[in-house]
């Protein structure tokens, strides 16, 4: 097994030099990186979602590409296309912006379904086929997609099946006053300072390999199964939220919690997962996989509190 020369904590520290506060967002990005999964970020504009992704790419010394999703975007704008070279009388392939280590899909819900599908397929397969040739995507490869919940007009909501492809979803919230003061002092007069080379791409690959070796006890596997099961039958677990839930989480959520819990243990410098790790990551893996119905709106219920209640209802081992 390859051993990384740096630890994830060093990467987090480097990111925190650029991003003020938002510790949970930074940790979630690194968790996604270690667990080799893609991240969905949701929050109002101006909350450093893009900055966080750029800072991550800079800290890794990896390639970073940003794709601004718009209604007129085409799949070839993302994956690439074949162009006919008249002089050579042959087709040459131009690779799209998806060929990067860190890809920021900004406002993913602004593009129509066929573009979303092209991206999500590439995310799943980790390769792109253009014409007769298949091109593998670079490794590590992480897509961070942002969604703005405020301007819903003219957007194409991601179907649940496509949301399921994201390993985790992070809700980005406003900074507190102290953090806002730091933002003012740090960014008002200077360009954004990026810390470069806090870790290497090979470190990330080594972390991903190490995470697979993290021990997940049988009691914790049962705990994960129960956490997912409670989303499908809340009433059976004493939570009266059945009327709010359309559909519970898929088995992909079970795998996601396990991957993320292992990544969390690695991030905290342990070789074994604790119940706290599972509980800490459960909401990240469940919040976009549980389908709520219209009653959460009509009854003014915060879906986050429902997810928190479901997690709290399952006793930890």
């Amino acid at each position: 097994m390859t051993t990384a020369s740096t630890r994830p904590a060093q990467l987090i520290a480097a990111l925190q030099e650029t991003i003020v506060g938002q510790r949970s967002v930074v940790e979630a990005l690194v968790l996604g990186l270690i667990a080799n999964g893609h991240v969905l970020l949701e929050g109002p504009p101006g909350l450093a979602k893009t900055l966080a992704c750029r800072a991550l790419a800079a800290a890794l010394d990896g390639d970073f590409k940003r794709i601004q999703f718009t209604p007129d975007l085409l799949p070839s704008d993302i994956v690439g296309t074949r162009i006919f070279d008249q002089q050579a009388a042959s087709f040459s392939t131009t690779l799209g912006p998806i060929f990067a280590n860190v890809v920021l899909a900004d406002e993913i819900n602004r593009a129509p379904a066929k573009v979303q599908s092209a991206l999500l397929e590439a995310m799943q397969e980790r390769q792109v086929t253009i014409g007769p040739q298949t091109h593998p995507l670079p490794s590590p490869f992480i897509v961070m997609a942002t969604m703005n919940p405020l301007d819903a007009d003219g957007t194409y909501a991601l179907p649940l099946a496509q949301m399921d492809r994201f390993l985790l979803k992070v809700n980005v919230d406003y900074p507190n006053r102290e953090e806002e003061r730091s933002i003012l002092e740090r960014f008002a007069m200077h360009d954004t300072p990026f810390t470069r080379g806090a870790a290497t791409l090979s470190d990330v690959l080594a972390w991903q390999q190490e995470a697979h070796e993290i021990h997940l006890d049988a009691k914790l596997k049962n705990y994960i199964i129960e956490l997912v099961a409670v989303t499908r039958d809340p009433k059976g677990n004493g939570i009266a939220v059945d009327h709010l839930i359309e559909r519970g989480a898929s088995p992909r959520a079970t795998l996601a919690i396990a991957f993320l819990a292992r990544a969390k243990a690695l991030m905290d410098g342990r070789t074994y997962v604790l119940p706290d790790d599972v509980r800490a990551v459960a909401a990240l893996a469940l919040r976009h996989r549980v389908a709520f119905n219209y009653r959460v709106v009509t009854e003014n219920v915060n879906p986050e509190s429902v997810i928190a209640a479901l997690i709290a209802a399952v006793p930890a081992p």
Partner: protein, 289 residues
Amino acid sequence: MAGRSQAAPLALAAFLALGLAQSSAQTLPRLHVPSFSLRADALHPQTEKPFHLIISAHFKEELKSVDFIVLPNLAELELLGSERHTLSGNAGTDYSETLTVIAHRSGNMHVAPAYFVAVDGRDGRPKRFSTNDLVLMVEGGALENPFAGVRHLVVTIVKMLAILVAVFVIAAIFFRRRARGVVAAPQPQTVVLPPPVPVRSPKDLLREQWAALRANRSRASVMQARKALWAMAGASEGETLADVLGRLQGRSPELHPLLRLTERAAFVADAYLQGAIDDMILGLEQYLA
């Protein structure tokens, strides 16, 4: 425009209907829960004889009703009825629910805790509040013991004989003293107290678990010791290390490293279990010293 004018009353009607539905909204209550317990009025109940399980809770909030408590799983006990009392006022709400149950077989029976999920008023986080569980030793009744009737008859006869003997002895003493004409000075009565029942503190229980762990270095022993440690910190089963540390809020700092060692022994890979148990035993020794 015509379509829009027709749609407006429909939307209003739908809004009103949804407003009515909103009244049945069930969100998590925010509660302070100083006590929540489960007990039985007989720890050694008999088969086919009804007894009671009593769930009690006190909430600091004044609640109109307490209908969110999930009653314990009674397993092999049959529920005959239940009676709920709720008393609420400025001092909070007292809740008591008495379940009348009956056992159909003898032996040990486990009654799982009652629980509910609410937002903890202390820290604003949703939590699962649980009572203690109960282990009842159900003893065989007349139906299970064919000699129970005979034994009852013998016991009754012996009791009656004892009463007759006592009356005879008292009468004999009375007449003898009367014959002598001597009135004896009253003698102080010697009260024989039952031997004191040793009260085991949580630390005693932990010491027992430490000895058990030394004797049997297994994951099961680790989990038993962990349970005792959790109880020492005032935490119940189902809580995580972060919950327990949060519950301690900086108190008992000597307990913190021991809790972490125990957590490691509980969840580390089998290959590292013995080393983790060594560390845990050492930590327990230092704590108990």
